[in-house]
């Protein structure tokens, strides 16, 4: 995308691939039967941290309303804010690039690296770069790339992808990490988290000192000042943006905020919603590369602003999804995510927001299960700091699947049959009378059905048997008396 106006209705070739071709159900099944993943998911409780973290906000609901309005304002004037950002950032010496597709992200990044003779790249967390498989592209271009967020570093050593957007290695335990470090660092095996952290620190320090280029994501872009905002906890973000000669930040078009004041409101919710912290350890506002007289900072600063399917959602019934500030609260509160973990979702973003973004970014037909793999309990919607109506959006995606004929015919027929029957009360009455009696007799003296056709229900549950007569017949009997 060469200008921020290029929103275009055409389907973009995003160059994205699902991480795996096996089905959601199979992936979920594997995770549900992996004792280690299950133990890790049982211990995972960022929802509790959020609950404690928001206690000091007396007017939490008002702040959520303001935050949603701020994000809506950004999206309503996206082209204006992005142009303003480009102008202000350029004025301060930043080179702004526009990536229309995932392939563009990789191409632009590799070009910058090659033009500057880069040999080693260090990265702070960037989910957008996961979308484009940037690490693979950098390695294919003959350079070394090292993740420096501790969780990302672990995941990279394991040759895996993050299973959570803010806690990438949440599926791993200390023994996994001990094994990985022992294997890759060639150090004696130790599973003490403090020792492991110090070890990672020591190894990462060498990379920080020897890298030529640092890549970060960008939590926000501030239009009025041309600043890039990073919200981190480990300090690796600051090392990545100050130690190497070149800093490349990659972020989505939707991450722009008008003003610093907008940012201050959003930040109050972001860290609390994510980890329960009233503020994260580091909030970094990068405004341009090293200036004359500065003691540190990169010689070059680039910002790659990515569309890759986002602009297509503007002005549609999916636009609200672009409000997302990637706090992770929706997945932390999702009963499905809490049981199956992030990898089952098959692409970069797991949980409820993933179930909305993935079909939108890689194609409705490539993620048929995701919008359906939710109970619509709305535990996500009530905690989302920017009030994205996630269940509504999933339901709309379900409608789009039906409209495009993407649902299995058995399901379609079943629903149609149900609706047809329910519109014919006497036939319906007859059918339910038969079903009630049949169910009762199958249930027997125990009044429990152990097996139903299709197995979906009775795989893990019994079905209490019906009473034997329908309400409607009993009510008619009563009125006759």
């Amino acid at each position: 995308m060469t200008t921020p106006h290029a929103s275009g209705a055409s389907t973009p070739n995003t160059g994205a691939r699902p991480h795996s071709t096996i089905s959601f159900k199979d992936r979920a099944h594997d995770r549900l039967n992996d004792a280690k993943v299950q133990r890790a998911m049982r211990n995972f409780n960022l929802a509790g941290a959020r609950a404690r973290g928001v206690l000091d906000l007396e007017n939490l609901e008002d702040i959520r309303t303001s935050a949603a309005a701020i994000r809506d304002r950004s999206l309503a004037m996206l082209d204006v804010w992005l142009e303003r950002f480009e102008r202000e950032a350029t004025r301060r010496g930043v080179t702004v690039h526009w990536a229309e597709s995932h392939d563009d992200i990789n191409r632009i990044t590799v070009e910058i690296a090659k033009a500057n003779g880069v040999k080693k790249v260090i990265k702070s967390k960037s989910m957008v770069s996961e979308e484009s498989h940037l690490n693979a592209a950098i390695e294919a271009a003959g350079m070394k790339v090292v993740e420096t967020d501790l969780g990302e570093y672990i995941v990279q050593l394991a040759g895996e992808t993050p299973s959570h957007i803010i806690a990438p290695a949440i599926h791993k335990n200390r023994d996994d990490v001990a094994d990985l470090f022992h294997e890759h660092h060639k150090t004696p095996r130790n599973n003490d988290p403090a020792v492991l952290t110090m070890e990672a620190r020591k190894f990462l320090r060498e990379h920080f000192l020897s890298a030529d280029m640092g890549i970060t994501g960008g939590n926000f872009l501030i239009a009025e000042t041309g600043s890039l905002v990073l919200v981190t906890n480990e300090g690796n973000g600051r090392m990545t943006t100050t130690m190497p000669r070149i800093h490349v930040a990659i972020t989505g078009i939707e991450k722009v905020l008008g003003t610093m004041e907008d940012l201050s409101c959003i930040l109050r919710l972001l860290t609390r919603s994510a980890t329960g912290q009233s503020i994260s350890n580091y909030i970094t506002v990068n405004t341009g590369p090293k200036q004359a007289g500065d003691s540190d900072g990169p010689e070059q600063m680039h910002v790659i602003i990515v569309d890759a399917g986002r602009a297509r959602l503007l002005g549609t019934d999916m636009q609200e999804a672009l409000r997302c500030i990637r706090c992770g609260a929706c997945m932390n509160h999702c009963p499905v995510y809490q049981n199956i973990g992030g990898h089952a979702y098959g692409w970069v973003y797991p949980g409820p927001i993933g179930s909305v973004l993935t079909p939108n970014y890689i194609g409705l037909e490539k993620a048929l299960d995701l919008p359906h793999a939710a109970t619509l309990c709305n535990q996500c919607g009530v905690v989302c700091p920017v009030k994205i109506p996630l269940p509504e959006l999933m339901r709309k995606l379900r409608e789009k699947q039906t409209e495009r004929g993407l649902r299995p015919w058995q399901e379609r027929t079943g629903l149609r049959l149900w609706s047809w029957l329910a519109q014919r009360p006497s036939l319906y009455g007859l059918a339910t009378r038969v079903a009630a009696r049949l169910g009762k007799s199958v249930g027997g003296a125990e009044r429990t059905i152990h097996r139903l056709p299709g197995k979906g229900w009775t795989e893990g549950r019994d079905m209490p048997a019906p009473q034997g007569k329908t309400f409607r017949e009993l009510y008619a009997e009563r009125n006759r008396k």
């Binding site: 499905v336 939710a374 619509l376 609706s419 009360p425 795989e459 893990g460 019906p466 309400f471």
Partner: protein, 249 residues
Amino acid sequence: MFLKVGLFVTCLVDLMRPRIGFAALKLLESAGCEVVVPEAQTCCGQPGYNSGDRPAAQALALKVLREFDDCDYVVSPSGSCGGMIRAHYVELLAELPQHADAARRLAAKTYELTDFLVNVAKLEVVPGRFPGTITYHDSCSGLRELGVKTQPRALLAKVPGLELKEMATPEYCCGFGGTFSVKYGEISSRIAERKCEDITTTGADAVVLGDLGCMLNIEGRLRRRGDSHTRVYHVAEVLAGVEDTDGNR
């Protein structure tokens, strides 16, 4: 006070647990309401709506609209079906502007049973008595779409003998999710398992709730994990004193 209340029985109560429908009837009558039960009622359309089949859902929504048009209130022993009518019908019928007014009217006069008994009918004395401890599961739709939280507890507090022991996470989803429970049975059962652990940790004699979907799911999981003693009741059964105390259910 003579309010003309239409009872929306719900398809699951009709088929599986008519006792709950009669309990609701008894409670509404003891609150002084004139209750009508439109005979041809079937389903609110939620299965189609949540599965993405809008036309199928619309046809059933229009049917409900017609059947309950002349009632002062519509009451349902289900936060899920009540929520469907109250929180979703207006959106569901958005493409049919000729029904917009009727949809809004219906939404505004539709209540979940306990919400209606507490906030509209102002029921003072409940017929039921329950010697034992219970824990209460907040169903997602009732809680998050209709704000049903204190109402059932306020009513249960009036039941002689009943003692409420809250579980650690009463607002946590049981994993039912309508067709989700069948399409993703394995995940659904696992979520139900966490709910059952939470319930049994309280040591309560019974878990009480306000939605038949959650009821079948929780009871089904309890029995499968070998728990045959924890009773599962709909709040209307306990309040009306019609729960089946001898058998499994």
